[in-house]
């Protein structure tokens, strides 16, 4: 990786940014070597980029199943360890168990989804990343990992499309 250079550039509008992505691909830069950063959630279709795959819904589902397990443990198993007799009801009555099971599932799903979001985004991140703070003013940033021998071509392509190029960007603590 020592012969790889990092180029951070930002565009005022989204159209030149998407054009730049096409140009970079034309120069042989892989999509996986480009990161698009923006202050709005532009879809992969708008950016012309590969779809980002997220396992968040799978994580949520797994957490919901864990919630079923936790709920069953507390509402079905523990009542037999600490028997509380309530008039006319079984030790594990179905309607109250269903209510609590529902709440356990929901709580587990909610906490799991949030936890999954943190894990998938690797946040909170201690690593100092490359970042353009002007992003929030509507700019679109492209972070390109390019082979050193293609750096000049990449810079020329980006500048031709009106990019503000931050050469040799420093990692900054957010």
């Amino acid at each position: 990786m020592s012969d790889t250079t990092i180029v951070l550039s930002s565009f005022l509008e989204i159209d030149p940014a998407t054009a730049a992505l096409d140009r970079l691909r034309g120069l042989g830069i892989l999509d996986s070597d480009i990161t698009v950063m923006s202050s709005l959630p532009h879809s992969a279709e708008i950016l012309g980029r590969p779809h980002v795959k997220s396992r968040l819904s799978v994580i949520s589902l797994v957490c919901a199943v864990l919630g079923v397990g936790a709920g069953l443990f507390f509402t079905v198993i523990t009542p037999y360890l600490y028997i509380i007799r309530v008039g006319g009801q079984a030790i594990v009555p179905v309607p109250p168990t269903a209510i609590l099971l529902y709440e356990f599932i929901m709580l587990s799903l909610i906490v799991g989804t949030f936890g999954g979001f943190l894990v998938l985004n690797r946040s909170p991140s201690e690593e100092a990343p490359y970042y353009d703070p002007e992003l929030n003013d509507g700019r679109i940033s492209l972070l390109v990992h390019t082979p050193a021998d293609k750096e000049a071509d990449v810079l020329a392509a980006l500048e031709e499309l009106g990019a503000h190029v931050i050469q040799e960007p420093e990692r900054r603590r957010l």
Binding site: M37, I46, S54, F74, I110, F117
Partner: protein, 484 residues
């Protein structure tokens, strides 16, 4: 032309102004009045940092009332015992439980406005979701405190936690009170995380612009947000999941709160209609409170650009609809008790219609039915912030009285006349109830200066997707679907 270019072209984003012969004024619509991103950021951050002398005076007054009337009175009750309340046989539930139900109801506004309207893609929710979600978290904290206040011996609250102990104590899962604890805990966690998730990009924006302690705070809270495709994708996925999950949780909370009452054998409470009746009442009062808070926040934080009459008017229409639905449930509940012919049940109704509860009962009907029905159908009223402020305050007075009547009015009479009794809240109870209001307002006032009250990125996304398009001689509002 790129896809985005085609989208913009179709929607007219960035296109030169269209000349038409018809003068149609869309200036009252936020989505069709875009401003540059830096200007939007500046407006929101400036509002957040606007803490003048008046603000600190208000905070000081609220903090004093909260400290003395709420915490002070609660401490006095802890030291003196629950004998200082007006509770006695058969009225074991009083203002504390009425307040608990009321504040849980207020908390429904955030979820309703944010989650339900998000699922249905209602445009007017965009700038007001966060203000409503903050209400949810603040009111839930206040509501949860009333459980501790009501039980008296709050220092043994940990007994409800399921953990092995030498006393052999274990939570009684048969009890609706435990369902309550679980539902409120789930809702509090869920609504707080649901408030936090869409906040992250705006916290990152604040992080990049502010210095000092605020920069440190937002740096920690924004979790290293950079706005990469992966981060946005995961955030949108999480928000979508939360939007769907939090709605049934919201319904379950007030359903279970209503079951606290409906699972008993007390007259008037044992009703299968209580769950939907309570939910409708909760959304009714929550939406009204949201309008009140939005009007105050808009004025005090100078957020007129973001929170416009169109948003208040749309919420006011919903309030009117929920007033109709609440009236329907109220009448159904009243009729069932009245038609049943139970002598003790008639005693309860008599207390309300012509007895000691009558002033509260008629005030409730006036505030919850007469006031909204006679006013909110009128567009001019819906466009008047002052009128809406007064109307929504009246509705919440009415809704508190409804909770008070249901909790304290129904317990006074039962099938055993020797066990009848009246109830008047003591000074301590009234003090804690008033102090809770001050605590809620204090929490909200502090939160509004700590986090961006307007979801800037959602407003910008909404504005990007909307534009005016010329069809013939008319300029029509158009919307583009930006999502995948």
């Amino acid at each position: 032309m790129s896809l985005m270019g085609r989208v913009k072209d179709w929607a007219g984003v960035g296109a030169p102004p269209v000349e038409t012969h018809e003068k149609v004024d869309y200036s009252d619509s936020l989505m069709y009045d875009p401003r540059p991103p830096e200007e939007l950021n500046h407006m929101v951050l400036e509002a957040m940092q606007r803490t003048g002398r008046e603000y600190w005076i208000v905070v000081a007054v609220l903090a004093t009332v909260a400290l003395v009337a709420y915490l002070g009175a609660w401490l006095y009750m802890i030291l003196s015992g629950t004998g200082v309340t007006g509770l006695s046989r058969p009225n074991y539930w009083g203002v504390f439980i009425a307040s608990f139900i009321f504040w849980i109801g207020i908390s429904h506004a955030g979820t309703f406005i944010s989650a339900i309207l998000r699922v249905f893609k209602a445009e007017f929710r965009l700038p007001i979701t966060r203000a409503a979600e903050m209400m949810t978290s603040a009111s839930l904290l206040v509501a949860a405190s009333f459980l501790g206040i009501h039980v008296g011996r709050v220092w043994v609250s940990y007994w409800i936690l399921p953990y092995p102990n030498q006393r052999g104590l274990w939570p009684n899962y048969h009890s609706p009170f435990l369902w309550d604890e679980m539902a409120i805990a789930t809702y509090l966690v869920g609504s707080t995380l649901y408030l936090y998730l869409p906040l992250i990009p705006d916290l990152a924006m604040a992080r990049d612009r502010l210095k000092g302690w605020r920069h440190k705070l937002y740096r920690a809270m924004s979790l290293g947000w950079r706005g990469t495709e992966r981060q946005w994708h995961n955030l949108n996925s999480a928000i979508r999941i939360f939007s769907v999950v939090i709605i049934p949780v919201m319904f379950s909370v007030h359903t279970i709160v209503s079951w606290d009452l409906a699972m008993t054998k007390s007259l008037g409470w044992r009703s299968s209609i209580f769950a939907p009746y309570f939910i409708v009442g909760a959304v009714f009062s929550g939406l009204s409170a949201a309008i009140t808070v939005l009007i105050i926040a808009r004025s005090s934080m100078k957020l007129q650009y973001f929170i416009r009459n169109e948003h208040l008017g749309s919420l006011a229409k919903l309030v009117l609809v929920f007033s109709f639905v609440w009236t329907y449930f109220f009448f159904a509940d009243f009729l069932t008790e009245w038609y049943g012919g139970d002598a003790a049940g008639h005693q309860i109704l008599a207390l309300q219609v012509s007895g000691q509860m009558a002033p509260f009962w008629y005030t409730m009907l006036f505030c919850n039915i007469v006031v909204p029905w006679l006013t909110l159908w009128n567009r001019r009223v819906r466009n008047s912030p002052i009128a809406l402020l007064l109307i929504t305050l009246a509705i919440n007075v009415g809704m508190f009285l409804e909770r008070y009547i249901i909790v304290t009015g129904f317990l006074r009479r039962n099938h055993l006349p020797f066990n009848w009794g009246d109830y008047s809240p003591s000074v301590v109870e009234i003090s804690i109830a008033v102090g809770a209001l001050a605590t809620f307002l204090l929490l909200y006032a502090l939160l509004s200066r700590l986090v961006p009250l307007i979801p800037v990125w959602e407003v910008r996304e909404g504005q990007l997707a909307r534009s005016l398009r010329r069809v013939g001689r008319a300029k029509l509002k158009t919307m583009t679907e930006l999502e995948e």
